[in-house]
């Protein structure tokens, strides 16, 4: 196990991400609502750079009390990042592939030491 320095906290503002390379693997480190999350930058679909895509909130259907469709909205809480190759969406907080949560990006522990961020890689 190796601790890989990612960046200073100030270098990854909340809502941003940094991608580092270690031993041939690319690791995407996201800063989201004061937490850090780290995943392998390799889409489970065709190997695209999943962590390099847009960050977008989950789209939800709005269904009324009477079960009628009222429109759509972006979720206030659920946030995804999207592989730029084909649009595979991942839960930013878990790395799970949203349409099939049995599929998941490889996850790495992200550690904050003072003002430094590290990920624990193999």
């Amino acid at each position: 196990m190796a601790e890989v320095f990612v960046a200073k906290v100030s270098e990854i503002p909340d809502g941003e991400r940094r991608i580092v390379k270690h031993d041939g693997h690319e690791i995407g480190v996201f800063h989201w609502q004061k937490q850090f999350y780290a995943y392998q930058n390799m889409c489970v679909h065709q190997g695209g750079p999943a962590c390099e895509g847009s960050i977008m909130h989950k789209v939800e259907d709005v269904i009324g009390e009477d079960r009628t469709w009222q429109g759509q909205r972006f979720s206030a809480t659920q946030v995804h990042f999207v592989c730029p190759w084909h649009g595979y969406e991942y839960d930013l907080r878990t790395g799970e592939c949203v349409p099939d949560r049995s599929l998941k990006l490889k996850t790495y522990p992200a550690i904050r030491r003072g003002e430094d961020i590290y990920v624990v890689a193999e």
Binding site: E16, R17, R18, I19, V20, K21, E26, G28, N41, M42, Q46, G47, G48, P49, E52, G53, S54, M56, V82, P84, W85, H86, G87, E89
Partner: protein
């Protein structure tokens, strides 16, 4: 403004570069040793609408050309004559970033056309040696209400493509657009362009309302058969179609709309006995995926056993004609049960009839690894699908050495 990329692939929005976007594809090409065998991409695209100013220079009808030029300057959204795709959300609301960014991508084509340079960037990243290139908005030109516009634009595009792209770059080929709403014009197109450099067949866009068994087309099929080159049907959606217009999500329109037109044309082609009338004409069905084929084979074999009197020209089961045809692979459905894909491959004789296609740069492109990594194919079968079948079908001579230069 920087794109959210890794430090080692850093670029600003203005510096968007397909080679960097596809860095992982190049990694796959190296790891899988694509350098050891040819890869031919039988369905890829460019955006001819970006070159419409040049294409209009090749348009012979001065009135239509003037209409197009005037519309493009006054509306600033493209030439008025091109029904450029209609409603659609191919870029998924910006999630597939290359749609926006590739329009500003900078290239140094070394004197060659920008489309050649852009095409070779993704070809090299994926390890593709030769690509068959098709237009994008023109996939819906067959729905144009003015037949004369389809003919004029098809001819201008084909002239431009042959001169500015195909003649300049041996790694890029095309099956030329046929203005199928005018049978006579289609025949003339084959006559005039069939032997041009880089022309490896002809293509009918499937989104249209002309029955392929109409007698007016027979001499065109006969001519293409005599030339020994394939005829392709390229699928495309039509949200304006009365049935498809009931669908309210693009996922539904794309999922069904890219298949139903080819199902209709194939049904007409087989049930009217065209495979018996043109036994040497090689047919390719493009961009409908593969899952529809098991449906077509099972459905029509079953119907035919009861209603053979309605298809008296057939000398074997409909499905047997279907398995003699050729298919491009993309978008290859990846079923949860791989046994279904295995059965599909068996039914369509994939190891000899299936042709790898990327469909790049469109949103649902497939890398060569979609074929290479399949556990249900033999090593030789993979190489056949990725290139060997296309080499035979198109009689490609220049694949002795690897043409792709993977970075």
């Amino acid at each position: 403004m920087d794109l959210p990329l890794s430090d080692f692939r850093k670029m600003s929005v203005q510096e968007f570069d397909t080679t960097k976007l596809l860095d992982h594809a190049a990694q796959q090409a190296r790891e899988r040793k694509y350098s050891e065998f040819p890869i031919i991409d039988v369905d890829s695209h460019h955006y001819e609408s970006e070159s419409m100013g040049e294409i209009l220079e090749y348009m012979e009808d001065p009135v239509i050309a003037q209409l197009a030029r005037a519309a493009s300057t006054s509306n600033s959204k493209g030439p008025g004559v091109l029904n450029a795709g209609g409603i659609g959300y191919q870029d998924m609301g910006g999630r597939v970033s290359r749609y926006q960014l590739r329009t500003i991508e900078k290239v140094d084509g070394g004197g060659k056309h920008r489309d050649i340079a852009l095409t070779k960037r993704w070809m090299d990243a994926m390890g593709i040696d030769i690509a068959v290139l098709f237009p994008t908005p023109m996939l819906q030109l067959g729905l144009h209400p003015q037949v004369e516009v389809e003919v004029a634009l098809a001819r201008a595009y084909n002239r431009w493509l042959c001169e500015r792209i195909l003649a300049q770059e041996p790694r890029v080929r095309s099956m030329l657009y046929l203005p199928f709403n005018d049978a006579e014009a289609s025949y003339k197109m084959v006559k005039e362009f069939g032997d041009k450099k880089g022309v490896c067949g002809f293509m009918i866009t499937s989104a249209r309302y002309r029955p392929v068994h109409h007698n007016s087309y027979m001499k065109t099929y006969a001519l293409i058969e005599e030339m020994g080159i394939p005829l392709a049907f390229h699928a495309g959606y039509n949200w304006g179609d009365q049935s498809i217009s009931m669908l309210n999500r693009f996922i539904s329109v794309h999922g069904l709309g890219f298949v139903i037109p080819n199902m209709i044309h194939m049904a007409n082609w087989v049930m009217n006995g065209l495979p018996e009338r043109f036994p040497k004409l090689k047919l390719i069905w493009i961009e409908s995926g593969l899952a529809w084929l098991t449906f077509m084979i099972q459905r029509f074999d079953n119907e035919y056993m009861m209603r053979s009197s309605e298809a008296p020209s057939l000398k074997k089961l409909p499905g047997e004609y279907i398995t003699d045809m050729f298919y491009t692979s993309q978008p290859m459905e990846m079923p949860r049960d791989m046994g279904m894909l295995e059965a599909t491959f068996r039914m369509i004789k994939a190891e000899t009839q299936l042709l790898y296609s990327s469909d790049y740069p469109h949103w649902d492109f497939d890398l060569p690894s979609t074929i290479y990594d399949l556990p249900v194919l033999s090593p030789q079968g993979k190489r056949n699908i990725l290139g060997g079948n296309a080499v035979k079908l198109f009689n490609i001579q220049d694949v002795g050495k690897k043409l792709a230069q993977v970075a």
